[in-house]
């Protein structure tokens, strides 16, 4: 009966309510910055802020793929090792002469895409829960990479192109990594808002059966979603390898929870169908700042992890309650 008594709400109000998580996220970012500045004036210096944005941009690239998957009502747990796969494969390609050097980045990204597509087939066509498929894919990628590095000693040095993408400065003092994130972010905003693919992503996340009965190619789209997520995780790995100068086995471990947390803190519904990219931007910056501040405060590692986990749960609780009230 509730929906029969159509309550005409002002669109503005709806807007604000839908964007509340984004507003909260940005408010928290400012709060964190102020809190940090109590410890050290450096916190509000342009250098520090640029540095934080640069670190955030790696997570930003990865979280973009995660957001796509979460919008479809799925989850991608294969991020850590697809990221590592991207980094290692790109580094490995570097060893094959100038052509390898040139194709290093696309090859690394392609490896992530291909493995993501395999997960996508499992989820979309074989109907295996995404949690299982992507977890399995994570382990498979890990096995492949261990096998690859175990037999002989491959090149693990990032190509100069990778280093340039991650650490160079094309425009003045703006690191290229930030430009890369801006580029990918702009593309994501365009795809989500202006293309049939983006519209279908929201539709699938909201009600897959309705999208299917409307004639959307739900299975194919979902498969590609996982492909894109894999590609972006691998691209994040390529950038990280460029940043660190080399690929390493455990480099992806620290990115699973932050990528999910950034998306959800930014107001994307963990159940799918609702969310906006600006929120993910806010979430990524928030998570990065939180990590940075906890380390600046010189809290011991265990304490940092506990606080980090508590903050994320608390914020999700806030949003969850807000949703339940509707």
């Amino acid at each position: 009966m509730k929906q029969d008594t159509a309550t005409p709400q002002a669109p503005m109000l709806l807007h604000l309510r839908a964007n509340l998580p984004i507003v909260i996220s940005f408010a928290c970012i400012i709060l964190l910055l102020l809190l940090g500045s109590l410890y050290s004036e450096n916190f509000l210096s342009p250098d520090y802020l640029i540095q934080q944005l640069k670190v955030a941009s790696f997570l930003g690239v990865i979280a973009t793929g995660m957001m796509l998957i979460i919008l479809m009502g799925q989850i991608d747990l294969s991020v850590p090792w697809l990221l590592t796969t991207g980094a290692m494969m790109a580094s490995a390609a570097t060893a094959f002469g100038p052509a390898g050097e040139f194709l290093a980045v696309p090859f690394g990204v392609f490896c992530g895409f291909a493995m993501g597509m395999v997960s996508g087939v499992g989820v979309a066509y074989l109907r295996i829960p995404a949690m299982i498929v992507t977890l399995a894919m994570n382990v498979i990628a890990q096995g492949l990479m261990v096998a690859y590095t175990g037999g002989f000693s491959p090149s693990d040095t990032a190509s100069s192109g990778m280093r340039y993408l991650a650490t160079g400065n094309l425009i003045g003092g703006v690191p290229n990594a930030i430009l890369v994130w801006i580029g990918i972010g702009a593309l994501a905003v365009f795809v989500l808002n202006r293309t049939t693919f983006g519209r279908a992503v929201y539709a699938i996340g909201n009600r897959e059966s309705a999208a299917f009965l409307s004639g959307a190619a739900t299975q194919r789209l979902m498969m590609f979603g996982f492909g894109i997520s894999g590609a972006l995780a691998a691209f994040g790995g390529v950038l990280l390898a460029g940043y660190a100068g080399k690929a390493a086995q455990s480099m992806g471990d620290a990115y699973l929870l932050p990528s999910i947390a950034a998306v959800v803190l930014g107001g994307t519904s963990i159940l799918g169908g609702r969310g906006n990219y600006l929120g993910t931007v806010a979430g990524v910056i928030l998570v990065t700042l939180l990590q940075s501040i906890l380390s600046v405060m010189q809290i011991a590692e265990f304490g940092r992890q506990i606080i980090y986990g508590l903050v994320i749960v608390t914020m999700l609780l806030l949003y969850g309650r807000e949703r339940a009230l509707r």
Binding site: P8, T195, T196, A203, A210, A217, R274
Partner: protein
């Protein structure tokens, strides 16, 4: 026996849902040792009556007496304690648990706070014996049993609660004729043990065999109670129809000539055991109704045509060309030009949290996009056009579609398909739960679309609608088309008697092979 005090007596029971009277001043007496059958059309108030009786909903008004003492049940558990147990249409068993676990699910015997497995098994065995399921092992997994055995387990589960009044709501609708015979035997034995049974079924021959007394409901009111056998089938059907308010339907134009080639032709379509050997043709400009009781395969037929179901056999021809439709995506393609207005707009028709605009344009999004990029201008223009055409009342197009009223939501579902200008339109009970005004607008729209050359298949649970809207009606029974009614033959009487698969006139007792043992009694109640 009926002269003694009633085990359960209901007086003046009323229940409203919103503006709809589900029950109005209903009364009923149920006696121990008798089977009382309840008859009525879909939506006559039978389910609400049972829900009141078994504590699922509280009545707005009225009194209930058990053994002459006034009672009221706060919840189903309270009704259970008083000895009233209901077996619902859908099985309530947990497939992954054992038979014994299911039977004693709600109140297992315990020792020291743990479930006493041995006592549980003994109780389950006793209940199974009473329910006629001696051959079912208490430790078998319920999911491994065939459907008919599961129904026996369901009955055993009810009996384990030691009922004095057992309610069976369409409990036999999933069973084959042979299983029905076994269940009947069990029920007769329970009756002779002194239990009161309330039996709800659309199967007239089962009622004829089992019931001692019948009550007919219509629009939430009692029509009449009578001793079984006192009325002919035709009289019962008359009572179920009544003379009711009719909706205003647009006039029907002359039907298209027989020789017009069909837009949709189906030959020998079958799907698992739900649909068998269905053949039909729909010509452009024609509105063909699907009739019959709820759940006789009408929904599956529409889904099969739309390419949703896997493993459909038979031939489908569109404009004379054979076509294998294997997905909704293909069904809506220009080659086929089909649209399906699904049954449940909330889960199948709409993405509720998304905006009116995005919902409206979703099916036809490809038409407003180049290389996958949406032309938002074109999208907004055609959405506005649809909103005008169907007079959708919405406060702008950016609000979530869930904020619209039910009728307007349904219009959005229809409009999103009309944007594709489909040539074949399948509608699955499109007016369910919407207001009369919107209903009439939808009727007008259907006539307009058929006038423009669309071929329409309309499934409706509302007989008035089939009579008022359709040029022909195909009545389905048990997954196949039993009767075709055309023009003036489409009367409420004909619809109901063919839906119940009884022949008002002689000579239609053929083709009942699937329901052999008991159906011999059908049509011979008088």
């Amino acid at each position: 026996m009926a002269d003694g005090q009633a085990l359960l007596r209901m007086e003046g029971i009323s229940k409203r849902y919103g503006g709809v009277h589900a029950l109005e001043d209903a009364h009923l007496d149920v006696h121990a040792g008798r089977v009382h059958a309840i008859l009525g059309e879909n939506g006559a108030g039978k389910s609400t009556l049972i829900k009141v009786m078994s504590g699922v909903v509280a009545p707005d008004q009225g009194r209930m007496y058990l053994d002459g003492r006034e009672v009221s049940f706060a919840n189903p558990a309270a009704a259970n304690r008083a000895g009233i147990v209901c077996i619902f249409q859908e099985l309530s068993l947990i497939p992954d648990l054992s038979v014994a676990d299911n039977i004693i699910a709600s109140n297992p015997p315990t020792r020291f706070g743990l479930i006493d497995r041995r006592a549980q098994r003994r109780l389950a065995e006793e209940a199974l014996v009473k329910a006629g399921g001696e051959d079912i092992h208490p430790r078998a997994r319920v999911g491994d049993l065939p459907l008919s055995r599961q129904q026996i387990v369901e009955i055993a589960k009810a009996l384990a609660r030691k009922p004095r009044l057992l309610i069976l709501d369409e409990a036999t609708s999933a069973l084959t004729a042979a299983d029905v015979t076994r269940v009947m035997a069990v029920l007769k034995r329970l009756r002779s043990d002194g239990m009161a049974l309330l039996y709800i079924s659309h199967r007239m021959h089962e009622i004829a065999e089992l019931a001692d007394e019948c009550t007919v409901f219509r629009n939430g009111r009692n029509v009449e109670s009578y001793e079984q056998g006192a009325k002919t089938d035709n009289e019962v059907v008359e009572m179920m129809i009544g003379r009711e308010y009719r909706h205003a339907f647009p006039p029907k134009p002359p039907r298209p000539a027989e020789e017009t080639p069909p837009a949709l032709a189906v030959r020998n379509l079958s799907w698992t055991d739900k649909l068998s050997d269905i053949s039909l043709e729909v010509r452009p400009g024609e509105v063909v109704g699907l009739g019959g009781l709820d759940g006789q395969g009408q929904r599956d037929l529409l889904l099969a045509l739309f390419g949703v179901l896997r493993g459909v056999t038979g031939e489908i021809a569109i404009d004379g060309r054979p076509m294998a439709i294997d997905s909704p995506r293909q069904a809506k393609s220009a080659d086929v030009g089909m649209a399906l207005i699904p049954e449940d707009r909330k889960t199948e028709g709409l993405m509720l949290p998304m905006s009116v605009l995005h919902n409206l344009s979703f099916a036809a999004l490809g038409r407003h996009a180049r290389f996958g990029i949406i032309d938002r201008q074109a999208e907004a223009t055609s959405v506005d056009e649809m909103i005008r055409l169907l007079a959708i009342r919405s406060n702008g197009t950016s609000i979530p579609v869930s904020a619209l009223s039910g009728g307007n939501q349904q219009k959005v579902v229809i409009a999103k398909w009309l944007m594709l200008s489909p040539r074949i339109i399948l509608l699955n009970d499109p007016t369910r739960g919407i207001d009369v005004g919107t209903k009439q607008e939808i009727y007008q729209l259907l006539r307009k679309l058929s006038g423009e050359g669309a071929a329409i298949i309309l499934y409706s649970t509302d007989y008035d609608e089939l009579i008022g809207c359709c040029d022909r009606v195909l009545v389905m029974y048990d997954g196949t088309i039993k009767t075709e009614l055309a023009g003036d033959e489409i009367t409420e009487h004909a619809l109901i008697s063919s839906a119940l698969n009884i022949a008002p006139q002689a000579g239609a007792a053929t083709g009942e092979a699937g329901h052999a043992p008991v159906s011999a009694a059908s049509g011979s109640v008088a």
